[in-house]
């Protein structure tokens, strides 16, 4: 059975393996530096649907079917699907998962959804309650802009601190198999609010939560940053990554170049006009399902600390002048256990 370490970390005891992943992304992500790692790159951001919300759900469905196909399984082999997104009432996930007719847990911790889904999935498998679980997350640039910001056709300028919501869905199949990579630890994040109110600077809002969770992970596991080949946060972007880096230094943990962010990896800042980087649930989900899983399989990376980050705001909380709390869930993934 899983064991509690320190205040926030859970050590997974029985093997929980990530047996396969699938990533479906939009056209812009398909022009980015990680393009070759994605399973499906869409030409059409509407994915043949009539609205962006429907498109997001269809992207979820495509990713679920793809991961089941890649793992050579049928949907009946999946015990539980755990997924979340950014749309009101989690409809991005639910309308996509529905057609598979499998047991479903919808979750929400904003853009850190994939970290929460993988943690809950790993614990459920560790407990023996399930053998195969899909953990996934999705977001869509247009549906997110529509819900959180301004209409797409409005002639305005994006702030230099803003990030670009990734269109896509990333899914992982977790199983009790003996082949790595394995999920070995899950550090459950706390909600951290450092008083940032600028919704165009999400990296700054989330960086304190990321640093809090990463520091908690090291404290609880008694590991050092050098233990990992890569520490990668979810969607802090360039500004948030630098802030998290400095906050970690302040806490006594000196990170180095092995610390980066999925929002930095997924877009080419110079060519793609994405300002501070990528964001959204899909940012960490597809970067993991594509690039990171590939690196773990090829053993160019053997130990990673994957820390998806989320900004816990709603359009209403923002309009009522509330600051933006952040959350980050860390998942340690290692080729040996």
């Amino acid at each position: 059975m899983a064991k509690r370490l320190g205040e926030q970390t859970i050590k997974i005891d029985n093997p929980v393996s990530i047996i396969n992943t699938a990533s479906v992304v939009g056209p812009k992500e398909g022009q980015g530096p990680l393009a070759r790692y994605f399973d499906v790159v869409l030409d059409d951001i509407l994915h043949g649907c009539e609205s962006w919300e429907k498109a997001e759900s269809k992207i979820v469905e495509t990713a679920l079917n793809k991961v089941i196909e890649k793992a050579d399984l049928s949907s009946r082999d999946i015990d539980i699907i755990i997924a979340g997104d950014l749309l009101d009432q989690n409809t991005g996930s639910t309308f996509g998962v529905m057609h598979l007719n499998r047991p479903f847990w919808g979750i929400f911790s904003a853009c850190s959804n994939i970290g929460q889904a993988m943690s809950i999935g790993a614990l459920t498998i560790d407990s023996g309650a399930a053998e195969k679980i899909i953990a996934g997350a999705s977001s869509h640039f247009c549906s997110a802009e529509k819900q959180f910001r301004t209409p797409l056709e409005l002639g305005n300028q994006r702030a230099p601190t803003s990030t670009w919501t990734v269109t896509g869905s990333g899914c992982t199949i977790l199983s009790n198999s003996q082949d790595g990579p394995f999920i070995t630890h899950a550090t459950v994040g706390k909600i951290v609010d450092f008083g940032v109110v600028d919704a165009a600077n999400m990296g700054a809002a989330m960086a304190p939560a990321a640093a809090d969770t990463i520091a908690a992970h090291f404290r609880d596991t008694r590991r050092e940053p050098s233990y990992y080949d890569l520490i990668i946060t979810g969607d802090l972007g360039y500004i948030g990554r630098e802030l998290a880096f400095r906050l970690m230094g302040d806490k006594g943990y000196q990170l180095d170049d092995t610390y980066t962010d999925c929002g930095i990896k997924i877009f080419d800042k110079a060519k793609q006009d994405t300002h501070s980087g990528g964001s959204g649930c899909a940012c960490s989900a597809v970067t993991f399902a594509g690039y990171l899983f590939n690196a773990l399989k090829e053993q160019t990376l053997n130990k990673i600390l994957f820390v998806p980050t989320g900004a816990l705001l709603s359009p209403t909380s923002s309009q009522q002048g509330q600051s933006i709390p952040g959350i980050a869930h860390a998942v340690a993934i290692e080729n040996t256990r």
Binding site: S51, L154, G195, P208
Partner: protein
């Protein structure tokens, strides 16, 4: 790290918008919009239309152009370059009405287009009308003497 110190660090690491180049671009494109408007106005006047009517027709033409460019997906690109230069002219107002109308079309004509069309321009209309009421009241009681 304390919150106040963190906020200072955020300010230090977050780049600001490029005020000088943005202002120049806004001046340039805003000026072009104004020249275009003046050209349309002069054309109507040279066709023998009175000043008042010609000004109204000019506004209508500019609003049409703003909506058309929004529908073609071009106003967003102009706005990205020009900023306030394309947001402030009446074409920008048309863009602020047309863009949510397009965005919320999927929610139907009543609750979508109808209800959401003024989410951006609504405050301008409400406070514009409110301000004109206050000015009207002053004007009435001062018999025009204050203005």
């Amino acid at each position: 790290m304390e919150k106040t110190k963190y906020q200072e660090l955020v300010n230090e690491l977050s780049p600001n918008s490029k005020i000088i180049s943005n202002t120049l671009k806004a001046f340039l494109i805003g000026g072009l919009f104004s020249i275009g408007g003046q050209f349309i106005l002069n054309t109507f006047k040279s066709a023998g239309i009175a000043q008042d009517s010609a000004a109204t027709y000019t506004s209508i033409v500019l609003i049409f152009i703003g909506v058309l460019l929004t529908g073609l997906g071009l106003y967003q690109r102009i706005g990205k370059f020009a900023g306030a230069g394309s947001a402030v002219p009446i074409t920008g107002f048309a863009n602020a009405v047309a863009s949510p109308a397009i965005e919320f079309k999927k929610e139907g004509h009543i609750m979508g287009v109808g209800a959401r069309m003024f989410i951006l321009a609504g405050p301008v209309i409400v406070f514009g009308t409110f301000t004109s009421m206050i000015v009207g009241v002053f004007y009435y009681f001062s018999k025009g003497g204050l203005l």
